[in-house]
Structure formats: C-alpha cells, structure tokens
C-alpha cells in the first residue's frame, strides 16, 4: 500500500524515523501494534471480569442488598456520564480519521474534545463520590447512612410502625421467633413479598400494600454493595485518568507534527483503548445504576 503512493519528503522522514529495525514493512509494524493493542484490551476485559463475577455472585445470593442500595444511585448522573463517554468515543474516532487524512489541527481539536469528555466524566463521578462520602454510604465498617428516625435501621417485627408509609398491621403473632430476635437486638431482614391472601379471593387487595420500590427494612450487609460499587467505578475511573494522560501525550506529539497519513498508529491504538474504557462503562452503568 505505501509503495504505490509517492511519498513526500516529510512522509519519508516520518517513515524512516518510525520503522523499527526488526520490522520489514510499516504495514507489518502497524498490524503488529494493532494485534498487540487488541490483546491488551482483552486483558483489561478480563481484569474487570473478576469484578463483574463478584457482582454477579453477590447479586444472585443477596438481591435484597442490591435493591435496597439502588435508592442512593442517581441514574441521571449515570446517564449524563454515559452520554459524555459516548460522545467522547465519537470525537476520538473522528480524530483517528483526521489523523489518517493528515489534518493536524482537526486531530488536535478532537483530542482536546475527547479529553474534555473524560475530565467531565471524572468530575461528575467525583461529585457522586463526594455525595456518598457526605451521606456515609461507604464500604465495610464505614457504612453508616442516616435512615430516618434516630439514624438506626428499624426492625419491622419489633416495632409496631413500619418504616415507609402504609398501615400494614403488625404481624407479630405470626413470626414469634423473629420477634424474639428483634427484641434481642438483631436486625431482622423482612421479605418484601406481600403476605398471602387473607380474603376469600386469595389475592391481596390491601391498599396498604405499598409498591415494592424498596424493602421496608434495611437488609444485612448493604455495605457490600458499596464496596463493589466503589471498586468497580474506582478502577474504571483510574483507567479514564490513564486514558486522558495518554491523550495528553498524543496531543503533544500532534503539535510536534509527528502524525500523518503514513504514521498515525499511536492515535489508532489510544482510540482502541478509549473504546474499551467506554465499553466497560456501558456495562457498569446498567448493572449499578439501573437496577431497581
């Protein structure tokens, strides 16, 4: 391909500077780099796969934790982050195209736009993190949110009044053991499946049956969700920071006139990297933000 096109002196210079001694042709070098980058992206995917696996295991074993914690995840900021990353992916791809066409100024603009997208993402995330820190929605023993009342989670069976609306009658007689445990100070996790019918038709018609948006009592170990949340989004944000750093390096090289139609490989590879950063977020967003 490169033999057919007559090269300008500048392009020949680029070629001579960038063809490594152990490659025969620039095409071989470019393809090797591409294969290497795809393999690296596979390893990145596998790195996150462990976390997705942990998420899946805990979600399967403790769905009540995830449903309970979802009330604190703001899907609007998640959505804005998604759109920001998607558009930054677009500007990055456009930048690669401009590099292929040799349009230095356009490439620089696209890189700056992509970096802005990445930094916006980090800013929104940072605000979310600060919010969680303020509300003490953290991991492990740091988890200590204010759930209303005296700040302590309330036991449905031990107290007469449920936490959220409705006037469900206290069914203390039905679960004496739970009642005992509650009085002994244990946090009793209550299923939010509505009780079986009392009436003749067999279907609960009670107006007090509130829509099951959230279980009335905090389940055990909600802090596990936040541990997983912070690790997954934190590791992802680390990769966003690295991506922004790589783009800064690309910007410097663009302004130094390094890239042209015969040599734009680094832009291509960073574009691939940014693509996978974006794609991982596409999985994180629904799994963490859209469950309710």
């Amino acid at each position: 391909m490169s033999e057919a096109i007559p090269l300008s002196t500048n392009e020949q210079e680029i070629l001579r500077k960038h063809l490594a001694h152990h490659f025969d042709t620039p095409q071989q070098q470019f393809e090797s780099g591409k294969l290497g980058m795809w393999l690296f992206l596979a390893t990145e995917l596998l790195l996150f796969s462990g976390l997705f696996c942990a998420y899946a295991v805990y979600r399967a074993l403790h769905p009540d934790i995830f449903r309970f914690a979802a009330q604190w995840l703001d899907w609007t900021s998640g959505l804005i982050n998604t759109l920001v990353l998607l558009s930054s992916g677009f500007t990055m791809a456009w930048g690669i195209r401009l590099a292929q066409m040799g349009k230095k100024k356009g490439l620089a603009v696209c890189l700056i736009l992509t970096m802005t997208g990445g930094l916006t993402f980090l800013a929104i995330h940072g605000y979310e993190y600060f919010d969680k820190y303020r509300e003490r929605l953290l991991w492990g023993t740091l988890y200590n949110p204010d759930l209303g009342g005296n700040g302590k989670p309330v036991l449905q069976e031990a107290s007469a009044a449920p936490l959220v609306g409705g006037s469900q009658p206290a069914r203390t007689g039905d679960w004496p053991l739970l009642n005992q445990l509650g009085q002994a100070g244990y946090i009793v996790s209550h299923s939010d499946i509505a009780p079986a019918a009392d009436g003749p038709s067999g279907i609960v018609q009670s107006a007090a049956a509130e829509p099951a948006t959230l279980p009335p009592v905090q389940p055990y170990n909600v802090q596990i969700f936040f541990g997983i949340y912070f690790i997954m989004t934190g590791l992802h944000s680390f990769h966003v920071i690295v991506g922004v750093g790589l783009m800064t390096w690309l910007l410097i090289r663009t302004l130094r006139n390094d890239f042209g139609p015969t040599y734009y490989a680094p832009v291509d590879y960073v574009g691939l990297y940014w693509g996978i950063v974006d794609m991982i977020w596409m999985f994180l967003f629904p799994l963490l933000y859209l469950i309710h």
Binding site: H21, S32, G36, L39, E44, A54, W139, Q223, I224, I231
Partner: protein
C-alpha cells in the same frame, strides 16, 4: 563484524575480537536499557536462578526443620514460644512457595529461554515489541524487590495461596508481598502479549504454522494463558490489598463477604498458571528429544494441538482445588471429569516423545539425560495428579504431603528439570562455550536421584496422613521425613556441581561451534554467540526436525549443513513461480 586490534609495539598479532551480543556494547546502561531480546533473556535467567537459589535455601530450611518430629530449628518449650516459632516456619514455607511459583516457575522459561530463543527460532531480528520486553523485565525486577523487601520487614505467613480471612487479619506484611506479585503478574501479561504478536507477525516467508518448531507452539499456548488468566489474579490481589488497606469486605465474612469467593478467584488463575509453568517445559523437551535421537519428531501435529488443548481445558479445572471447600457434588464431578480430560493431551505428548526415541540413534549427552529425566519424573507427577483428581481419593489426600509430593514432581521434576535441560542445550548458543560433559552427566544423575529421594517419601507419608504445612509431626513419620531431607541435601550437591562447571565454562570452556548438537532449527545457523541482529539476511526455512542434511564435522566438533539428494528441505521443493505456471 570483526574488529581487529593490533598492538603497535608487540610483534605478535592479537586475535580479532568478534563482536557479538554479549561483548558489544559493554556499558552497564547498554545492558540495563537494552532492547536486545538475547540480553533481556540472559538477565531474566540470571535473576531467575538467583531467586531459585533463595527459594531453594528456604526449602533446605524447611527440610532441616522437619528432621525431628518436634521441629529442629523452629520449636519452643512453652505454648507461646512454639506459636512464635511455628509462625516463623509458616513465613519460611510461604516465601518458598511465592519465590518458586511467582519468581521462578512462572516467568523463567518464557522470560529467559523464550526471550532468548523465540526470535532466533523464527528467524527474526527481535520480538515484536522490544521496549515492552524491557518493561516486562523491569516489572519482574520490581516485583522481586518488593517481595524480598517484605521478607525483611516480616514476610507473610499465609501460605502462597493467601486464603482469606487469615490473609486479611494477619499482622505480617501481606500487602508488600502481594504488590510484588501484582507487578510480576503484569510482567507475565506483557511477555505473553509480546510473544503472541511475534509469533503471528514475525515469522519468515515459508514458515507456515505447521513448519514452526514445537517450542514456538508451546510458547504460543503459554502466552495465550498468560494473557487470559493473569489479569484475574491481578484483580484478585488488588481486591486483597483493598481489603487489608481499606476494609472493603468482599472476602471478609465479618463484613458480609465470602472467603470461598477468594479461593475461586485465586485458583481461576493459579491453575492455568501451572500450565504456564509446564507447557514451555514440554516445548523444550519436544526440541531436545528429536535432536538427540537424530530422528524426526513423531506426531508433530498431535504435539502442537495438545499444547493448545492443555491450555484450553486447563481453564476449566480450577475447582479441583476446592473439592473439600463446600462445592456441590455436581460441580465436584464436573471438575473431576475435566481434570482427567486435561491429563490426556499430556499423555499424548509423552507417547509421542517415546515414539520419537524408538529406533532413533540416541546420543546420551547432558540435555538428553535431562529430557529423559523429565519424562520419568513428569509421568510420576502426572499420575499422582490423576489420583488427586479423583474425588474419593482427594477427600483423603487433600492438604497432605501427597499433594506436596505431586506438585513437586511436576514442578521440579517437570519444569525445573526441563529448564536445566534447556540451559544445557542452549548454553553453547547463549555463551559460545561448551561445558564439561562428564560433570554435566554426573550432576544430572545426582539430581535425578536427589529428586526421587526427596519427593517419593512425601507421597508415601502423605498417604499415611501427614498434613502439609505442619512444622511438627507424629513420630511414626520420621523415617520418611528424614529420607526426604537427605534427598534435599543430595539435590543441593547436584546444584553446586552444576553451578561450578557452568561458571567454569564461561571462562575456560572450549569455544562452541555454531551447531554443536546438530539441531535443524534456525538458531543453529547463527554463530555462537549470535550477533546483535541475529540474522544478516532472512533465513531459508526448512523442516525443523529433518536431520538428513546435517553432517558432523570433527574439525569443528559441530554439525554443518550439506546439500543432499532426496532431502526433506522444504525450501528446495517450493516450485518457482515460472515452474508452477507450466505444471
């Protein structure tokens, strides 16, 4: 490129100093910042063997401790004293495991032998990404330094498996150690990545996939595992660090976490890791046996595909480390079946090697003695692995010395023996010197005896019920433990002899010819040692196991290639384009 130096005063002419990759350039920074795969390979080999000796020292301490039932080195008269002493013992065997697994067995054959030989076998000038190769090496060095630093401050006492929750709560320096292993993991990933791209993109014209040497196939399968499995241990160790530092709670039952999840994550990498250890070793044996049988390898395609099969199936057997940890019976049965399945391709290789030797003209030089030792020792190790893969026997033998005997037979009798065989096989190429064949054979025989005397009693005493990782034991096990320790000392003697004659050969050894053993792969067409660029022109590719064209030249004490009628040299049978048109 010769560089003749002449003294102006002396009348005798100095011999011209040949420049090769070792002696030119000479500065320290030209070594530390080298992009030459051969230099990087030698540095990996040096550091790896140093790590091996440190890990071996730990092993000698362990075996000495186990000479008497109450413990010879670490013991105490009071409960408190005994607790502290045995905690130190735990640190010793943890270090032994971590050094041997993560600093020797996993990185050394790909890093040292692979780095040195892969481009030479492919007729290439270097690997695909030389700078990444250097980064891999420095990550390896950093990982080793971090782990050794933790040794000084207070090595972990968790065992190399770091099971939670003990690894979360113990007061030893787990984070240091685990960070070191994290860096070593990335070194492994980048090496694997590099090799995959090299094999895909840097083969010479004429070398199709089925004309590659089998060590390249083995390296390819190993690299695939490195790339796919190592990130999982990366994230596992990262989570462990976050557990200890931030109290995340994902593996800590007190905070709602699940410790068995850690075990699944850990073994999802660590089982494929043992295939990272053994596949390149098997590749080495596939190279040595045909050369020293002067016979074409038997069943080339079967050996090539068996490497891929082991890599693939190896990803699905991790549960056999968790048979007694509360897995369901159905899952146990599936993992057991797959464990049996993965033994099949290994058996295929053993049969193919033996078929290669059958009716060959066997030359019992040192590399061949190591290859034969490998076949014997790996077979014993592999068969004991099948015993452990069966559910009923594993329930009895789990966490006994039987397991210890099993994995030492496969790791030591397998990987280390193959590594030493590779060092002896490629030593003339790496350093341009021949070592003493007499002492080489002696050391091999002593080592073979030592390995068996050390680990066979462990199989027996494990079947009798002695648990692993114990600093003291019941008196009835003592004869076996003592025999095992004597074997460990015999091994030490073998290694000291080996170090002596190898180091001696560097300074006083006979200069090596280009092809001392008569190999048909491409590295033997370069001078010993090779020049910086390996090949001046793209080499002509033939069958890597066809020895009909190689003739021994007594003047050189090596082999040279001659043209013969009826040879299997593919290059000579590729029709020229003009001939093809008329056919």
């Amino acid at each position: 490129m010769s560089h003749a130096t002449t003294a102006t005063i002396s009348t005798t002419e100095k011999k011209p100093v040949e420049h090769h990759y070792l002696n030119y350039p000479r500065t320290i920074s030209s070594w530390l910042l080298t992009l030459d795969h051969k230099r990087i390979g030698i540095m990996y080999l040096t550091l790896g063997m140093l790590a091996f000796f440190v890990g071996g020292l730990m092993a000698e301490i362990i075996r000495t401790q186990l000479l008497v039932p109450k413990g010879l080195i670490f013991n105490g008269s009071t409960i408190q004293a005994q607790y502290t002493a045995f905690k130190h013992y735990n640190q010793v065997f943890t270090l032994h495991g971590i050094i041997m697994v993560f600093m020797v067995l996993v990185p050394i054959i790909p890093g040292a032998i692979g780095n040195f030989t892969l481009p030479l076998l492919l007729g290439a000038k270097d690997v695909a990404f030389p700078r990444l190769n250097l980064i891999s090496f420095w990550l390896y060095v950093s990982g080793v330094i971090l782990a050794i630093a933790s040794m000084i401050f207070g090595a972990a006492d968790t065992g190399w498996t770091f099971y939670t929750p003990y690894s979360i709560t113990t007061d030893t320096y787990v984070v240091f150690m685990v960070s070191g292993i994290f860096l070593l993991g990335f070194s492994s990933i980048f090496t694997g990545l590099n090799f995959i791209v090299t094999i895909h993109k840097l083969r010479p014209p004429g070398m199709s996939w089925f004309r590659m040497p089998l060590f390249v196939w083995a390296t390819y399968a190993t690299s695939a595992i490195q790339v796919a499995a190592t990130p999982v241990i990366g994230v596992t160790l990262l989570l462990l660090i976050l557990e200890r530092v931030m109290g995340i709670g994902i593996f800590n039952p007190a905070l709602g976490g699940n410790p068995v999840l850690f075990q699944h994550f850990f073994w999802f990498y660590s089982h494929p890791a043992v295939y990272i250890m053994i596949l390149p070793a098997m590749g080495i044996i596939s190279e040595i046996i045909p050369v020293f049988s002067r016979k074409h390898i038997f069943g080339y395609e079967f050996i090539a595909f068996s490497s891929l099969a082991i890599a693939l199936i190896g990803f699905f057997v991790w549960g056999h480390h968790l048979f007694v940890n509360g897995q369901s019976a159905e899952l146990d049965a599936i993992f057991s079946f797959l464990t049996f399945l993965v033994a099949v391709p290994s058996g295929v290789k053993i049969f193919n090697w033996m078929a290669t030797m059958y009716k060959g003209a066997i030359v019992l030089k040192t590399p061949m003695l190591y290859a034969i030792s490998f076949i014997v020792l790996f077979t014993i190790g592999g068969l004991t692995g099948v015993v452990l893969g069966a559910l009923a026997t594993d329930v009895v033998l789990h966490d006994t010395y039987f397991v210890v005997g099993h994995f030492h037979y496969v790791m030591f009798g397998g990987t280390i023996i193959a590594l030493i065989g590779a060092i002896h096989y490629w030593w003339p190429k790496m350093f341009g010197r021949m070592y003493s064949e007499f002492w080489g054979r002696i050391a091999c025989v002593i080592l073979f005896i030592g390995v068996n005397v050390t680990f066979y009693p462990q199989l027996i005493v494990g079947a009798y019920g002695m648990p692993r990782r114990y600093a003291s034991y019941l008196p009835e096990y003592q004869p076996y433990m003592d025999l095992s320790t004597i074997g460990a000392y015999i091994q030490l003697v073998a290694f000291l002899i080996m170090a002596a004659y190898l180091l001696h050969s560097l300074f006083r050894g006979r200069k090596a010819p280009a092809n001392p053993w008569g190999g048909a792969t491409l590295e033997w067409t370069t001078p010993s040692p090779p020049s910086h660029d390996n090949f001046d022109t793209t080499p002509v590719v033939g069958d890597p196991y066809d020895y009909s064209n190689l003739v021994y030249d007594p003047a050189l004490d090596g082999y040279i290639r001659v043209d013969r009628e009826g040879s299997h040299d593919y290059a000579s049978t590729i029709p020229m384009p003009e001939q093809q048109a008329g056919h």
